[in-house]
Amino acid sequence: MPATITARPSDAALARYSDILRSEFCKLRSVRSTYWTLLAAVSSNVLLAALLAIFLPGRLSAAAKVTTDATRVSLGGLHLSQVAIGVLGVLVITSEYSSGMIRATLAAVPQRRLMLAAKTIVFAVTVLLTAIPACFAAYFIFQAFLPASDPMLTSLTDPGVLRAVIGAGLFLTVLGLAGLGLGIIIRSSAGAIAALFGALFVPPLVMTLLPQSWQTSVTPYLPMNAGAAIFAVRPDASLLAPWTGFAVLCLYAAATLVTGFILINHRDA
């Protein structure tokens, strides 16, 4: 038996899990798409907040300002950052399939679900650590750019505001995880991105064709509406309670991930 040059590391479960996590983090940090999508998410949050704070006060009546959900408005950048994070979630797995890297990955870690779990954790933590600060940045920049004594000025200690800002970061993370789940299932970048944004943007359009009673009962459960509940501070008839809505969004993401985790062991790589 030939002598092995490299010292063979321990097969202990904990050592292996941390090795696989490090491998997945190495992959995430060593491609440009990660930086571009995260940069796009952060900058759209920040820029939209600044633009809204500059232009909105002059366009709203004093009465409208009082009833406006100023926290939700300050997070208007989510409309763009959700696209960036969703795309990143899809790409972390579909880029492996499109490049062929998946074969090297699965040859190195034949326990496929373990690899997917590591990928999911690394992606979720990275997005969380980017998205929550980005949402705080959006909130504070909006506040900072508002004219003094504007009725839209709020404080993090106001009811629901802190939850909404942190919740917006959680929303982005869970949305990205749904993208990851769809990517695992569909395995093609274009297909998974289309599916993710189709699921977000198409159902609200379809709802408008349905009877009013259906609209009011179903609309709050659509992925987009369920997700929006967590970063709304003022009550809105089309939204569920904050954490209920968030739980529904989590269920959607979990459904895609569970399906993906089931499928990966039953398909040829």
Binding site: M1, T6, S10, D11, R16, D19, G100, R103, A107, D268
Partner: protein
Amino acid sequence: MIEAAGLSKRYGATQAVDDLSFTVPPGQVTGFLGPNGAGKSTTMRLILGLDAPTAGSVTVNGRPYATYRRPLFEVGAMLEAQTFHGGRSARNHLLSIALSNGIGRARVSKVLELVGLDKADRKRAGGFSLGMSQRLGIAAALLGDPLVLMLDEPVNGLDPEGVLWIRNLLKAMAAEGRTVFLSSHLMSEVALTADRLIIIGRGRLITETGTEAFLRGTDGSGAVVTVRARSRHAAELATLLLAHGAAVAGRDGDILTVTGADCDTVGELAAANGLILQELSAQRASLEDRYLELTRDAADYRAAGHPAAQGKTAQADRK
């Protein structure tokens, strides 16, 4: 040691691998030969557990590949198709694979140096030439300093220096007692490196034999090796050869095409009789001919038996 037993893989209507049984022993270089689409790459994917067999099983050092917790120490594999993300540098690509098995940065630097990519390690792998991509694939296979090395068409795109390097590397690995398994569709390339041959056609085993025996035509597969001899005394040499039981298949001026005798016999016979030889060589073409003949037979048999099995499937091309 790689052992396949009744290995079969069907993609839709096409039987890519059909009841394949073979053994790849340690301490030798085993060549895996077959025409394009014969099922070589599919077999390698089955060995690595990337694809699940329709029937049969395959083990590496006695265990299915998927049961290894740190498989890079057991098997280093380079697949024919590209297996890296073009946007990642060579070093980061190798590091991401290495880390998953607990292999450190020092070993990554070492294999980069070993394959000659240490100068290009920070470049995006997407810009690599075919030869550099091959070297990156070989580097990944060497990361765990594995007991089994499995390479799919390793010399594709390598320059002559690279071809020589990989040949010597594989021989050295085998000499250390490792199992070396390399596929190729080129008989001439494999004949230079491999001690043993596994030849397949249309997913089925055609023959499993020693390279020497195959070259001498003594492996029982019935084909004949020819020797080309050029001599000013061609007529006398032809008479002598016939007297020794060899056959002269053709004569073109000074050139004889001899069957039934190898180069040693022809050379010794000429020397013993004082005949000067200007040229003496075993015919490389006959080697390819033998191989083509073997694989063509298999193809005909398969085509007659299973009309649906003709050509490569989209699945096999997907790679």
